[in-house]
Each structure stands twice: as C-alpha cells, then as structure tokens.
C-alpha cells in the first residue's frame, strides 16, 4: 500500500485542467475540422483519462504492475478492434454469378 499522500494542490490543478479540457472539447466540436474533429476529441479524451489514471487513481505513485495490468487490458481491446475491423475493411463485394 502506498503511504504517499498526494498534495491537495496537485488534485486541485488536475481538476482545473480537466474542466478546461472539457470546455475545449465542446468548443472544438462546434467547428468543422473534418476528420480531425474525431482525432482531436479522442486525443483530448485520452489526455483527460491519463490525468484521472495518473493522479486520481494514483498510477503515478503506485506499484508499476497496476499500470501494466491496465495497459494489457487496453492492448487486448485494441486487438479485437483491429482484427475485426481488418476483416470488415478487407471484405470484397462479390458480384453475383447468376
């Protein structure tokens, strides 16, 4: 068990950044950046998630094995996504022979 106490200031800064990023996400969505809208919104979401994981969930201060476990989960999620998408993307529409 980590006896490390995260300072109040750290938590406070993190929540401020999280709120700010939420505002940015909404503002960006109101402008049409084409395909970049998705990339930006997912990028910001991932950064917010990283902040919650590192600070609120203590991953920065805790045993590295917890981070490994989390990343392994994300890795296998990526596998099901990639391989299923690979199937769907590479399907060839067959013309009927009838």
């Amino acid at each position: 068990m980590s006896d490390h106490i995260v300072p109040f200031k750290t938590y406070f800064n993190v929540i401020l950044v999280l709120i700010a990023l939420t505002v940015v996400t909404v503002l960006v969505s109101l402008v049409d950046f084409g395909v970049f809208n998705l990339i930006i919104s997912m990028g910001i979401a991932t950064f917010k998630a990283a902040l919650v994981l590192m600070y609120f969930m203590h991953l920065k201060y805790d045993d590295k094995s917890y981070l490994v476990i989390f990343l392994v989960g994300v890795f296998f999620l990526a596998i099901i996504f990639l391989f299923s998408s690979f199937d769907i993307i590479t399907r060839v529409v067959e013309k009927s022979v009838l």
Binding site: I15, S29, V52, S65, I69, F70, G73, I80, S84, I88
Partner: protein, 209 residues
C-alpha cells in the same frame, strides 16, 4: 488516533492485505475495460459504416446536459480522491463531507440521465425496433448504442452510489484514518473508472460532427 485494522488470517499484515486488494481491484478494472470496450468497438465499427446515422442521431442529444454531466462526474472524482486525502490527514469530518459531495454528484448525474431518458422515450427515440420517431427512419441503430452504452454506464453509476453510501456510513463511524484507507481506495478506483468511461462516451455520443 491511528485506526488499527486487523487483516484476514491468510495475510501477513494489513499492508500485505492492502497490496493484494488493490491488485485484485486493478484486475477487476481491466475486466470492465474489456466489457465496455466491446461496446465501444461495435460503436466504432458501425459509426464507420453508417456515419450519417450517427450524425443524425446525435442531433437529438442535448450537448449542454451532456457537458453538465461530464463536469459533475469529474468533480465527483475530485472529491472522491479528496476523501482519501483527508482520511490520510486524519481530517475525518472533511473526508465524510467529500464522500457526501461525491454521492450528491452521482445523484445529480442520474437525475439528469432520468430527464434525458424520459424525454427520449416520450419522443419515440427508442432503441432498435422500438424506434418510432416520425421522419427519421433507421435511427433505431444509433439509439441502440445510445441506450446500451449509457444504460450500462448508468447501472455502474448506481452500483457506485451504493458503494459510496456504504463508505459514508463507515466513515461516519470513524472506521478510516491514516492507518487504513483501503476501502476508500478500492471504491475510489471503481468510481474513477465510471468517470473514465464517461469521458469517452460524452464526445462519442453527444459531440459527433
């Protein structure tokens, strides 16, 4: 006053029990990621195949309510983390108060959700075959994703609320302190996961361009 916690008989001491419990919690979080993740994968595949549906569907969602819920959950994560901080600093009244605020935020989230859902049900914006909103055929698929993703998430919020309430009772009885914050940490991890999922749900459902 250092709270003395007696670890279960098969552990060496409280510290041993705590590290085992946290390891178990993280593995559990991993399973939640894979379960919710399946829904996200399906969402990604269908969004890619039918972008018009997802664009049209998201127009029925109120991004202001979605933003409010996002901020509410983020705030609740903050206060959840603070409840541990205050318990570690032996400021137990503050710790209990932070738990109450966390609980309240969760309730606000569910109330907003209730209004969103009842509005959609009233308008016939329902999943799959139940979809009956005039003038927009084919949106049944979009609302299938909307209801299953937010529904599964909402059920986890409810479970989290029950767990936080249990913590409030224990915190009130002064069970926690500088020597023992394990239940706060464990429930906290679960609650933060609920927040994490919403961080992704919000832009994917409400802010589609």
């Amino acid at each position: 006053m250092n709270v003395k916690h007696h670890a279960a008989h098969h552990f060496r001491d409280a510290s041993h029990e705590a590290s085992a419990s946290k390891l178990g919690l993280w593995i559990f979080l991993c399973t939640e990621i894979l379960m919710f993740g399946g829904l996200f994968v399906a969402y990604a595949i269908y969004h890619n195949q039918y972008p018009e549906i997802f664009l049209a569907g998201s127009k029925f969602l109120d991004w202001k309510l979605g933003s409010l819920n996002t901020l509410v959950l983020l705030l609740s994560s903050f206060t959840m983390a603070l409840s541990i901080y205050y318990a570690q600093k032996e400021k137990l009244t503050y710790s209990t108060m932070c738990l109450w605020i966390t609980f309240l935020c969760g309730v606000i989230f569910m109330v907003v959700k209730y209004f969103e859902y009842s509005h959609k049900i009233h308008d016939g914006l329902l999943p799959g075959e139940l979809f009956s909103h005039a003038g927009s055929e084919n949106l049944g698929l979009y609302f299938s994703f909307y209801f299953s993703m937010t529904g599964l998430h909402g059920s986890h919020v409810l479970a989290g609320l029950a767990l936080i309430f249990w913590l409030i009772i224990r915190s009130h009885k002064k069970h926690f302190g500088p020597g023992y914050v394990l239940p706060l940490e464990c429930v906290g991890l679960f609650w933060h996961l609920v927040d994490l999922i919403w961080i992704y749900l919000f832009p994917l459902l409400y802010l589609v361009e």
